[in-house]
Symmetry: C2
Subunit: 369 residues, 2 copies
């Protein structure tokens, strides 16, 4: 798929704070964006979704995907945009039949439960995901250089959870039964997923994504030992295949493992630029465990946004202070990208997001003074 002609024609980046922080370069404030920032807590998003009819109606339509991706950027001075899409587009393109029942999570019509189903899996033709790459290019054009655009995918393990369970799960019984009783099948799924995710992210980069993020949303449900073997190893397999730059511009990569706190030291060895952290992690401890090679992204509890603005500000300050003074001056050093420790709740008052973004920008400037 030739998208490089398009992507070289994009407007120059005006706010590169996020990209610089990913690369551990100094910035005049700590950049901030929020996981699921384009979402149901915004009335304008709810209007768009009503017009589109469904979540996938939004995600598969270039205009809608562009519209909702830019909504939080228009409302708040966020430092990055993230592609509006779903983490499960890749297994959908493998033919598993993704759907979203009203008020429920994602479901697959064809769960992968046995050897025959695994034998049918293959890296999908990227043409089946053209709607995603078209959205990336459209969003990048619409952003017009205001802030960088982050592309993303679910991690190989997280995709496998949904592929085997067929839906979300409380106990991951089916996928873990396969993992413990047929590790050969699980490894086969994960190899295919890793190669598919790498190709998918590289094609997003060609289409215009300026950074990419791997969401290992369910890595934290694995046992010690199993995490390293069935999640971390395949995230590493994705990273090994990722483009590090495009058209001469560096493309930072972010890995976020929800519940990954127990394995920070091991994740410090991943070949990515940024580790995303949930709210259980102490940022000072994380810096010590991860080492000097990575920026850290996170990690405010999304529920802080239900408190009043003064309390939100106090909690933002705690998170910034727990990371400590970021790098200033030339070269590279410790940097943070402010974010929530998980996706923003649909019940969040939008005004409280404004308070959060302002608090991050204001206090992080003071910390550098």
């Amino acid at each position: 798929m030739n998208t490089s002609a398009q992507s070289s024609a994009f407007a120059p980046l005006q706010n590169d704070t996020f990209i610089r922080a990913c690369l551990r370069q100094a910035t005049d404030h700590t950049p901030v964006w929020l996981m699921r920032q384009a979402g149901r807590y915004l009335p304008e998003y709810r209007d768009s979704r009503a017009k589109a009819g469904s979540f996938m109606g939004l995600a598969t339509n270039t205009d809608y995907a562009t519209e909702v991706t830019l909504q939080p950027i228009d409302r708040f001075p966020l430092d990055a945009a993230i592609l509006f899409s779903d983490i499960l587009t890749v297994p959908d393109a493998m033919g598993l039949g993704l759907s979203f029942a009203l008020g429920e999570g994602p479901k697959f019509a064809h769960a992968v439960r046995d050897e025959a189903a695994v034998a049918k899996l293959a890296v999908p033709d990227m043409d089946k995901l053209r709607y995603v790459f078209d959205a990336v290019t459209s969003i990048r054009k619409a952003l017009n250089g205001r802030v960088p655009l982050i592309g993303f995918s679910g991690s190989p393990w997280t995709l496998a959870c949904y592929m085997v369970e067929g839906a979300g799960s409380d106990d991951y019984r089916l996928v873990k039964t396969m993992l413990y009783s047929r590790p050969d099948l699980m490894h086969k799924i994960l190899r295919i997923n890793a190669d598919a995710v790498a190709l998918y992210l590289n094609t997003q980069i060609e289409a215009g994504a300026q950074a990419v993020m791997v969401f290992d949303s369910w890595g934290g449900v694995l046992a010690d030992g199993a995490f390293q073997e069935f999640s971390l190893a395949y995230t590493a397999r994705v990273l090994a295949q990722l483009k590090k730059e495009h058209n001469g511009v560096r493309i930072p990569s972010i890995v976020f493992t929800k519940g990954g706190g127990p394995w920070l030291e091991e994740m410090g060895g991943l070949d990515c630029n940024v580790l995303g952290l949930d709210w259980t992690v102490n940022l000072a401890k994380a810096r010590a465990l991860v080492g000097q090679s990575k920026a850290l992204q996170g990690n405010l509890d999304p529920n802080v946004l239900f408190a009043q603005p003064a309390q939100i500000e106090a909690e933002v300050v705690k998170v910034l202070n727990s990371f400590g003074k970021p790098h200033t001056g030339a070269g590279t050093g410790p940097t943070q990208i402010f974010n929530l420790g998980h996706g923003i709740s649909q019940h969040t008052p939008p005004d409280h997001v404004a308070s959060l973004v302002k608090a991050v920008h204001d206090h992080s400037r003071k910390m550098r003074a």
Copy 2:
């Protein structure tokens, strides 16, 4: 409540492996019991429950509670029994109206959401929990010294989660909104809960419990900083009030925080004998972080029990080996109590539990040879 006359009349303990391991004394094998070992995966439990009509029908009837507590002890050579009860009996005794709808989790009729509701809370009269203490005494008699009996309670924070949410929750939005916006109310609830839990556990000890366990099932959902202030501090407040011995016999205490991996170092400072660990924790790392004062309990992923016996045995060996060689000889040293990292699934084949217990006993004897 005078129960000491009864408890001094109990039969002497024949298998003290669990108690010795709690106290970091040498044993000839690693003791094993399973969280929720009396439960729906056992056909005899399902029969008892059908007779009793409901979960609380089992828990509030002395004969049924005794019957189901002993069922796994009769079936498997487990090294401890645990009181059959619910973690939410204390807020129920506070008047919040606990119920279990069929196929759903627990619910409270009167959730604690505002200042007026908090003002009404008080440490409940232990007479309202007499059914629990009667069950403890009855079970202890029925055990007749075969294995020790563990009493338990939910932690102050875990009780508060249910009291404020009114039920289980995916996001803990209501309880965290109170925590961040009205920390004064949250602290008031937690003080009352801590004093109630301490009194409740001490009364279980007087009634015959030979060890006690605090289930901090939801401590792991808290942010770093909030965990220390709203969960750990109140678990410590419980422990400070607990009886350390009864009738001249030491009563070990266990604290289990699901998802507590990020705070093992801080939990090492708790005044308890054992820390329970979930499956995300590496036992060798945990030993290093917790220090020399505590035994460790855990931590097999319950989903391992869906694999075949040979694979269950291999995973048991991994967990035992990750802890390392336990203390032998005189004095005290590192000891493990084998358990799952969370409650056993209702879908578990009972024969697989037999394989697990045998593997723990066999391999742990070899490790000492």
